[in-house]
């Protein structure tokens, strides 16, 4: 058993991970780390390599090249050790349809070596209430709705209280209320764990994740916080100012001379002022308007929409 010391409380480290399916390179030299307390959002178009990366990390399929470590254990060399430390929700949460929810969770708990039987029973009880599954505990899984099935998948992933959680589209197919519930559970346990989740939903990344990685055609395009990501939008840090009592072109000309205004455009009686950098120019702008004694009708800061940035990055033609 070889143990690697990972830097700065990193629970997950992935280095140069590559996976070929025949001539097709699904994952191309992907590297990243996830620290304790972090929730990493994995984003990308369908077929970008998100699920494949997760499958390698959880030990389901071997990598063609590269390495992955979980709490210092190599996924390739100490597969059992790493699997013990990971809770995994595979895509569309597969489960044995003929078992009841309770039987299924007891089965997973036993495979996870939660012993003896008394502890197992107790833990399943806790998990049933944590995931709001008490009502359906005696129901067979094939009779459950998609939302419940997803929660069963989530329940089996956290039953052994793992330090690392890998969730492949955890809120897929849930209604907005259920989504909110699952998000609440995830944030509730984030402090003590390193969590990776994949999703298509950008608002989810905003609501949940402390960091996001965008992967497209097997390659990492972006690895930053949601706030940083938002700044990539061309309209980010742009102000819309509606003014009265002065010729708009005159006002625009005056503004252009100021250092804090990167670019100035007009739209009817509205000024569009964009900052030259990433720092907010809000106070400077307000001060200037006061000095000039313009009467303001409106003053609004625009911020980039994540999905637009995402589209620009992953689909440059559009």
């Amino acid at each position: 058993m070889s143990k690697e010391i990972l830097p700065q409380n990193e629970l997950i480290r992935v280095g140069g991970l590559t996976k070929d399916f025949g001539p097709f390179r699904a994952v191309n030299a992907v590297s990243f780390g996830v620290r304790k307390g972090e929730i990493l959002g994995f984003l990308g178009p369908n077929g970008a390599g998100k699920s494949t990366t997760m499958k390698i990390l959880t030990g389901f399929i071997p990598a063609t090249a590269g390495e992955a470590w979980v709490e210092g254990f190599s996924v390739q060399k100490d597969s059992l050790e790493t699997r013990r430390r990971i809770g995994y929700l595979p895509e569309s949460s597969p489960a044995y349809p003929e078992m009841t929810v309770e039987e299924f969770l007891l089965f997973v708990a036993e495979c996870r070596r939660i012993n003896p039987r008394k502890n197992r029973q107790k833990r399943v009880e806790e998990i049933l209430s944590l995931c709001f599954l008490q009502d359906v505990r005696k129901q067979t899984i094939d009779t459950l709705s998609k939302g419940y099935k997803q929660r069963v998948g989530f329940a089996q992933a956290v039953i052994h209280d793992p330090p690392v959680l890998v969730l492949d589209e955890p809120t897929d197919g849930l209604d907005p209320n259920q989504k909110q519930e699952v998000r609440k559970i995830i944030t509730g346990m984030a402090k003590e764990k390193a969590i990776i989740l994949s999703t298509h939903i950008l608002e989810e990344v905003e609501a949940l994740c402390s960091r996001l990685i965008i992967i497209d055609r097997g390659k990492i395009l972006v690895d930053e916080t949601p706030a940083e990501f938002r700044q990539r939008h061309e309209q980010h840090n742009r102000f819309r100012i509606g003014i009265e009592g002065i010729e708009i072109s005159e006002a625009a000309a005056k503004l252009k001379k100021q250092d804090f205004a990167g670019s100035v455009a007009t739209e009817g009686q509205t000024l569009l002022v964009k900052a030259p950098g990433r720092e907010s120019i809000e106070s400077a702008l307000l001060k200037f308007c006061q000095q000039e004694q313009w009467s303001l009708k409106s003053f609004r800061k625009e911020s980039g929409r994540l999905d637009e940035v995402f589209r620009q990055l992953t689909n440059p033609q559009a």
Binding site: K55, F60, R83, E91, P94, A95, E98, C111, R112
Partner: protein, 240 residues
């Protein structure tokens, strides 16, 4: 190896969660009884032995073993549950063994449910208990080899029908190798040593001695080794 237990329990209970167990037992016992009494002429033979029952086992198994094993791995692959299974902290060997042992245990119960036949011969005459014991032992061992082969076929595909047909074909070949006609044909086509070698792989000829009350070490080893070989190959197939 301690993780074999939960898998065994789950799989074994699985047979009884669906109608599979009941349909299987009924069909198995009915076909065993019908074959024994009609083509086997159980009463006309006027013998207090189960030879008439045992001689049909290899043929009944030919359909029953693929039926019981076809879902073993194919269904896991189709429904995606094998992704769950192989990301749990258990080895492929444990998973293959757990599932195989469950199928074997269930199959053994079905074989032993033919005990009314034993009661019948005991009631009607004074049977020689030796052949009855070795006949059942042989049937259970042979059943193990059948099931191991079918488990391998099931691991090769995600389609239960393909798994069934593939298992059936492999078992059929292993069965036919022991039929006189096939042996004669191979004798004329192949060098004698090869034909002789191939005929050693037959279920029929391997079961022969056990049926008449002998305990031939070679035949018993054959069933065990064939089973282990098929299971080891299953592990390799699943690990890719």
């Amino acid at each position: 190896m301690q993780q074999v237990k939960p898998l065994f329990k789950r799989e074994f209970a699985g047979y009884f969660r669906s109608p599979v167990a009941y349909v299987f037992s009924v069909v198995f016992l009915a076909s065993a009884a019908i074959l024994t009494f009609f083509p086997g002429q159980f009463f006309e033979s006027n013998e207090a032995s189960l030879r008439t029952l045992f001689q049909f086992f290899p043929w009944i198994f030919l359909l029953m073993a693929p039926a019981i094993c076809m879902r073993l791995w194919a269904e896991e692959k189709r429904s995606g549950t094998w992704e769950l299974l192989f990301t749990l902290p258990l080895t492929t060997v444990e998973a293959v063994l757990g599932k195989f042992l469950a199928a074997w245990a269930f199959f053994t119960i079905a074989i032993l449910l033919t005990f009314p036949m034993v009661v019948t011969v005991a009631y009607l005459g004074t049977p020689d208990w030796g052949p009855i014991f070795t006949g059942y032992l042989g049937a259970i061992l042979m059943g193990g080899s059948y099931l191991a082969i079918c488990s391998l076929a099931s691991a090769l595909t995600r389609n239960q029908v393909i798994a069934f047909v593939l298992s059936f074909l492999i078992c059929l070949v292993l069965l036919f190798l022991g039929i006189g006609l096939v042996n004669d044909l191979m004798g004329t086509l192949l060098p004698w040593w090869l034909a002789e070698g191939i005929s050693q792989f037959s279920f029929l000829s391997r079961y022969e001695a056990l049926m008449i009350g002998l305990l031939p070490v070679g035949d018993i080893l054959f069933f065990i080794l064939l089973g282990l070989f098929a299971l080891a190959t299953t592990v390799l197939v699943l690990e890719r």
